[in-house]
């Protein structure tokens, strides 16, 4: 009866499990697994497959038989010579790949949303960021017409000042984003930006810009201007209104403070 040789079965099994991982994670779930994690998975898979394959002596002998044959069978002379030349070279190459100097950019860790300070000094005033609210926000309920007007004015501010980097679609892909690309301009349509933030945080980030970031936010690298140099307090609140209106997100609010004010 013809059986699959043990060695081929072992290699085939390991390859099949690897293929399965790639298929499931990369193509079906669209969650590519980091190479380091994949290496760890495959290490265990290899160990388990080898354990199973060498569970008794006959099985183990059958597994190494072809390898033994490679070493002493006269008829495999050529293959043997080829393998014996290639194996040390491969070892050299793989190790060199690890030791060779890489000239990649150094890794820089930057906090994208650093914790805001309690208060910020700007426009000659001190603002308490814990209680600061957008003065136009309440008008959404009390005076819709005035609210729409403020959004419209915010849109003008946005297109005159912000869209060059943050984009027509507020997706952070304005025509200057190709040059100001590290850090990339914020994508306001992403669920991880303004949708997670209070309006006071936006006020702080806009008014004091890149240079107003704490050190963990890498203030030296951000091209975000200090907008208090160009916009009034009123214009900043209106452009914040526009950002939420256009994207359809609601700002995060401090619930417990609402009832008292």
């Amino acid at each position: 009866m013809k059986r699959i040789p043990k060695l081929a079965l072992t290699v085939g099994l390991i390859a099949a499990v690897y293929g399965l991982f790639v298929a499931v994670f990369t193509y079906i779930l669209h969650l590519p697994v980091p190479a380091s994690v994949m290496k760890m998975y495959m290490f265990f898979v290899t160990v388990v497959v080898l354990l199973v394959m060498t569970s008794n002596e006959d099985s183990a002998r059958e597994l190494v038989a072809p390898l033994e044959a490679l070493v002493y069978q006269p008829r495999l002379r050529r293959l043997r010579a080829a393998v014996f030349i290639v194996a040390p070279l491969a070892g050299f190459g793989l190790t060199y790949n690890v030791t060779r100097p890489t000239l990649d950019a150094p890794l820089e860790l930057r906090t994208v949303h650093p914790a805001p300070p309690n208060s910020v000094k700007v426009f000659g005033k001190t603002y308490n960021l814990l209680t600061l609210e957008n003065p136009y926000r309440a008008k959404e309920k009390s005076d819709l017409e005035a609210f729409r007007q403020a959004v419209e004015e915010g849109k003008t501010v946005y297109f005159q000042n912000c869209h060059y980097c943050h984009g027509d679609k507020l997706d952070g892909k304005g025509h200057f984003s190709g040059g100001f690309n590290n850090p990339l301009p914020a994508n306001f349509t992403d669920v991880g930006t303004i949708a997670q933030l209070q309006e006071s945080f936006l006020f702080w980030r806009i008014a004091t810009g890149g240079p107003g970031l704490p050190n963990e936010g890498a203030p030296w690298a951000s091209p975000m201007p200090v907008w208090s140099n160009y916009l009034t307090e009123d214009e900043i609140w209106k452009v914040i209104l526009f950002l939420y209106d256009y994207t359809g997100y609601a700002p995060r609010v401090m619930k417990e403070e609402k009832g008292h004010s």
Binding site: P88, P101, A105, L109, G179, N229
Partner: protein, 507 residues
């Protein structure tokens, strides 16, 4: 079972993409109801630049170049018709869906459904009476005939080059970089200044960069601009030959930017000037440049969009070769009266005063109050100088041994500046940078196009990149691989010996 799902999923995905990519084929009837629906989409998505009344005068308009299209005059640049005619609906659809590369017009197909884009096309057309009048007269628009690209021989392409030099050089320049003698005096019919395309940068071709796209633009011209239809003076076969020639000078994809400019060690004679072939020994890194819109008088409309940088060094000096395309070398010898602005072109390399030990760097825009930077600034027609800067508005001349040894040698050929900065590696004193090998050194760039009125803080800038003078490779890098290789070879010998002994015993 699971394995076979992967190709299936890919095939389904491919089908889906194909289906999504061919909407323009489905021409829609643009009814008034459609236009009414398009109004809301237009006001939310388009009015910021094109204006509520469609006259290309939205809040952003004055700060964009090219200016947003004015739909009232209906001078559509890319209409798939011949110069001066109104555009086909499908061409407007394409511009909205795909965007216009190299301009500020993005493609909208990722946020608008196909139906919505047709609604917007219907609405946009209502801004101009011209479309309605055409309909009243019962006229139909003739699409520009393109056909398929003929097979072009080398002789055809050579002929195309001659035709190019005869018909296109005046604006697009000898090398196609948009630097012809007329380039500095071109106007759109509506009055604003425009520049001829730099044909070497295919990723900025508004209407696509395939050879068919090139033919279409060369044959049909660009309505409202000085780019005429060339079918009036040339045969289609000749225009195809020109397209065939442009096809040989265009780089279609924007080169990938690397964060690190790697400096190559050289031995022997250093590069004598910017055109010395030695410069090519170092790899080139393309650095994007954008307008300085952060401090002082902001600059929204730079002409320069990138600089290519190479670095070489020997035991004493660093050689920094920078190349950037500029439509003119200014100040112009003879300023043109249409646009009399005539500042000098300039370029600056920005470096920190000391190599930062940690992550912290000086502020990328000209340094900060407590973190100065130095600038090596070359100005066309002036001397090269070293400046100490604590902010983009605060740069002062800086003197020192390295500063006085700094030199810059620049040439301008066919729309491209090439400048070679040379300076000793050693800073030679306080307040000037000593460039060390094997260290990551922040580096940034500024460029001024004087003929575009750029001066002081009004310029094109880059963010920080890294300069790394590649150190000689240490031997240990090869030691470990050699040990591993020898170990494997030894193991093999041992195996052979062992097996042979085994075999002998058996016998």
């Amino acid at each position: 079972m699971m394995l076979s799902n992967a190709p299936l999923a890919q095939a389904l995905m491919a089908l889906f993409i194909l289906a999504a990519a061919s909407p323009a084929s489905a021409q829609q009837a643009l009814t008034p109801e459609r236009a009414a629906k398009g109004k809301a989409v237009y006001e939310k998505r388009c009015a910021g630049c094109h204006g509520l009344t469609g006259q290309g005068d939205g809040p952003a308009a004055d700060r964009l170049r090219p200016r947003p299209r004015d739909f009232k005059t209906a001078f559509y640049k890319f209409g798939d018709t011949v110069f001066g005619k109104l555009p086909l609906d499908a061409a407007i659809f394409r511009a909205v869906a795909e965007g216009l590369p190299g301009s500020s017009m993005p493609g909208w197909k990722d946020v608008l459904r196909e139906e919505e884009i047709w609604d917007v096309v219907a609405y946009i057309k209502e801004f101009s009476r011209k479309f309605a009048r055409l309909k009243e007269r019962g006229e139909k628009l003739e699409p520009l005939e393109i056909g398929t690209a003929p097979k072009l021989t080398e002789t055809d392409v050579q002929e195309g080059k001659e035709l190019f030099l005869k018909n296109c050089e005046k604006c697009h320049g000898k090398a196609g970089r948009g630097s012809g003698p007329s380039a500095v005096a071109l106007k759109h019919d509506l009055g604003d200044r425009i520049w001829p395309r730099n044909l070497t940068k295919g990723w900025t071709y508004r209407n696509g960069n395939s050879i068919e796209n090139i033919y279409r633009t060369a044959a049909g011209g660009i309505t409202g601009t000085p780019m005429p239809s060339h079918l009036e003076s040339l045969q289609p076969a000749q225009v195809w030959k020109i397209a065939g020639y442009v096809d040989t000078i265009v780089q279609r994809e924007r080169p990938k930017t690397s964060e690190v400019i790697i400096g190559k060690p050289i031995e022997g004679a250093p590069p004598a000037g910017p055109d010395d072939a030695r410069g090519a020994e170092a790899a080139a890194t393309l650095i994007p440049l954008v307008g300085q819109i952060i401090e002082g008088e902001r600059w929204f409309t730079p002409t320069l969009d990138s600089v290519q940088v190479r670095a070489l060094y020997d035991s004493k000096m660093i050689y920094l070769l920078v190349e950037w395309d500029d439509p003119s070398a200014s100040p112009l010898a003879e300023p043109n009266d249409k646009f009399p602005v005539n500042e000098p072109d300039a370029f600056a390399v920005q470096l920190p005063v000391t190599i930062p030990a940690g992550m912290e760097k000086p502020y990328f825009l000209g340094g900060g109050q407590n973190s100065p930077v130095i600038l090596w600034k070359w100005t066309n027609g002036g001397a090269v100088e070293t400046l100490s800067s604590t902010g983009i508005l605060k740069a002062e001349p800086f003197a020192g041994p390295a500063a006085s040894a700094l030199s810059a040698n620049a040439t301008y050929v066919d729309g491209q500046w090439r400048a070679l900065f040379t300076r000793p590696l050693a800073g030679g004193g306080d307040g000037d940078l000593t460039i060390e090998t094997g260290k990551y050194i922040p580096i940034a760039f500024s460029a001024w196009d004087g003929n575009n009125g750029e001066k002081a803080e009004q310029r094109a800038i880059s963010i920080w990149y890294w300069l790394l003078l590649e150190p000689p490779t240490p031997l240990t890098v090869y030691l470990w691989p050699a040990i591993i290789g020898l170990l494997i070879a030894g193991g093999e010998l041992w195996l052979v010996r062992k097996t042979n002994q085994h075999a002998h015993k058996k016998e």
